[in-house]
Subunit: 331 residues, 3 copies
């Protein structure tokens, strides 16, 4: 962990420090849990009192905040965002240990940038390419013909199947599986026959993929995850889905095949989306919603429930049911 | 990728080729995305126009299809199935690289067929047996006393616990876990005590297990996955469940303990099935349904919703709720 | 497998054996499936007949049970619990093979107890500590600054990120990921910026974590899993959640950020819990329930449905809907 003064930290953030700028900052915590050498943040005027009651020696706070005695203040119009930036300073990522670990299995036809780090037990298949400063950590499996861009961080024990393309500055967490076969079978003569899944997956830049999340390859063509999109843990993206840019999908949500999601859409956790449904740009889907096959969800009012409907309608129906049930002596 | 002529491909499929049979085929795509050297398929008369508008140089199409100028036609009464077969020709699976990688950890008491492939970092535990031409790829963990049949494909980073039996021609995707302990505890004296899970898992032939899917071992006896059954990604099969033959279960569905599913049943995604429920042969369960403990689901009408009920009943209830809510001015 | 006589087994359990105590016991099964040399149990008077009809040569049974001819009886006031204890005798866990496998990657600054077992392909990061008799099996990834207590069993291919603390006697199944980043982003200037997740995870003693389950690290501070708590497969615990002691959470349940669960609560499978909701001590949440953000669930009546409500209310509403729908000719 880094140790610096409040003044030095403020300077790194391009902000002013008021009060005892020589205070040491070493780590960060919430207002309620911070200790003297830790940084906390006061999000808005609503938290001024909590800020003064906090034991944090240094706080990021908006203009107008009056600190507790002895508290250093790093003044910011956006305390939350600057606090996040401060975390990057206080807890720097481990830097890349350039080079291929002697116990990695790199195919002779693979091209690994000399500034990349390939950890022990990692496999890189034939004709794959790993970009500059990208870290591929312990035990990860990279297939054949895969391209990974620059400055990516692939945590231990991820799986990337053959021919998947991954942009730059992506983060893949442990246990994610990118490019496994789509779930496609033809039924004939009393049994299911596998339809070869010959497409692939393309992942843009700045994408984060959560732990144990699965993105299946397309049957034909590509499954797409757009630039800037963030997937939480255990999300399932089936074959041929196309997710736009800067989309957020919370944990345990599942998309069936051929789903389209527009840019800046927000999808809650445990949502189920049927085949070929379309969630339009900037639409919002509440947690646990179920979206039927081929349904279109538009921007505007968030949708909830199964089958997904506008929030007001969903709430009205819940209220109706409760009222009728009560009137009949149900409860 | 394979390169051949339309005529050669038709011959391999046992079909006729009409038109310019010397056209080169190299890869496949959908009608809308295919390029000149790619194969596409025309599923039925409904797609005749799209077929003629496609840039695909060669199509698999039903009798009666009139091709675009210069388009080769591989005529088939079942274009979809023959297209799937063509994919197998155009994108052959990597052949097995027989032998044990020097960086695999194979117990001296394990028996690996000389035609099998054991990848780097794989572990094969004591007394386990790996069949002919089976591929066990990078980093997979096979416990003790496991039997894997012939011609299986186990992708990187799968886990198979002790004593699990797996048939022939099975496909196990990355991250799946077969044979972990069932979730069994006895509560006494203020805490939970583990009930040793001493049963195992038996998987038939031709089974496919999706990425990150979990099949728990039985408390006593066996958890069974029948021949020909296909499980999608992140499916949870709890201890002592018995799944029949040629069953399909879509992603993120979970079965509690002791569930029975009959042959040819179809279960959608994100379904929850309570303890000891029984889904009968050929029954159909809609995505997102919740099946209560000990409930029996019969073949015939598909069931939907929670608690799961016949589709018509489910739809009628949704309609009633919408109508009542509207009448009361809800929306 | 262990082979002993009914008398010897009874002695190990501190119980009496009636009848032919020289019968061999070698393995266990259910009453319906047991063979002559297997142990089964008769849970209560309800099963007396099944006990007598069973082929089991030895049974654990309550006082008053009259055995079949030639059947040995180990008499117990708590047959189920003593049967579980007998399983531990009949199927002992593999003992620890103390030592570090030559193909493990243990950082020179890590401290591994000489009685611990570190399997092939395992990585232990800088400054981490592994306690006495703990087994870390094939391919598992342990980050930097991690502490694992004594007598833990970590199955192959688990992931533990940096700085996570794990107590003693814990079991971690294959594919679980402990300490991946919480899902935290700040939106500004048209894109999401990662909020560094600088907290960690603390896991108490006697915790069991299911296969492919994910417990995310806190943004700041800690995500806590209390002593004695059991998580089933594919459970998602988001950043900063705090789970009490002796809690049970069934498969595929997901907790959003900052959720609190009190001691001895029971949460079914596929439950979704919104941000900052609180499930109080000894509360019971039915499978598939959806608990809204900031909602408080109290002990007493179990809750069901989405949004979660007391079971009686939920049932009354289902009944109302069914009745109204029928009256209108819906079905």
């Amino acid at each position: 962990m880094i140790r610096l003064t409040a003044g030095e930290l403020a300077a790194k953030l391009g902000l002013n420090c008021c009060g005892p700028s020589e205070r040491v900052v070493c780590g960060a915590a919430s207002l309620g849990e911070a200790a003297e050498e830790q940084l906390a943040f006061v999000g808005s005027a609503k938290y001024f009192e909590a800020g003064r009651a906090s034991k944090a020696g240094t706080v990021v706070a908006p203009p107008g905040y009056e600190p507790a005695e002895g508290q250093a203040v790093i003044e910011s119009p956006q305390p939350r965002a600057h606090f996040a930036a401060a975390l990057g300073v206080l807890y720097p990522l481990t830097t890349t240990a350039a080079g291929v670990h002697p116990a990695a299995f790199v195919d002779p036809t693979a091209v690994v940038d000399p500034t990349a780090e390939i950890g022990p037990g990692v496999r890189i298949g034939p004709n794959s390419r790993i970009g500059a400063r990208t870290r591929v950590l312990h035990g990860t499996s990279i297939g054949a013909g895969v391209v990974v861009g620059d400055d990516c961080l692939i945590y231990p024990r991820a799986s990337v199947y053959d021919r998947v393309l991954i942009g730059s500055r992506c983060v893949l967490h442990s246990g994610c599986v990118i490019g496994a076969d789509g779930f496609g079978f033809e039924f004939s003569a009393g049994r299911f026959h596998k339809v070869p899944q010959v497409g692939t997956v393309e992942i843009g830049d700045d994408v984060e993929i959560g732990a144990n999340t699965c993105v299946d390859r397309a049957a034909l063509g590509v499954t797409v995850i757009g630039t800037g999109t963030k997937l939480d843990n255990m999300v399932h993206i089936a074959h041929n889905s196309r997710i736009g840019k800067h989309v957020v999908i919370a944990a345990q949500t599942g998309l069936a095949g051929g789903v389209t999601i527009g840019d800046y859409a927000i999808v809650g956790g445990q949502v189920g989306v049927g085949d070929k449904a379309r969630i339009e740009s900037r639409a919002v889907v509440g947690s646990g919603a179920g979206i039927l096959t081929s349904k279109i969800v538009r921007a505007g009012e968030p949708v909830w429930g199964t089958p997904a409907r506008p929030l007001r309608q969903y709430l009205a129906q819940l209220a109706t049911l409760a009222r009728l049930s009560k009137r009949k002596g149900g409860t």
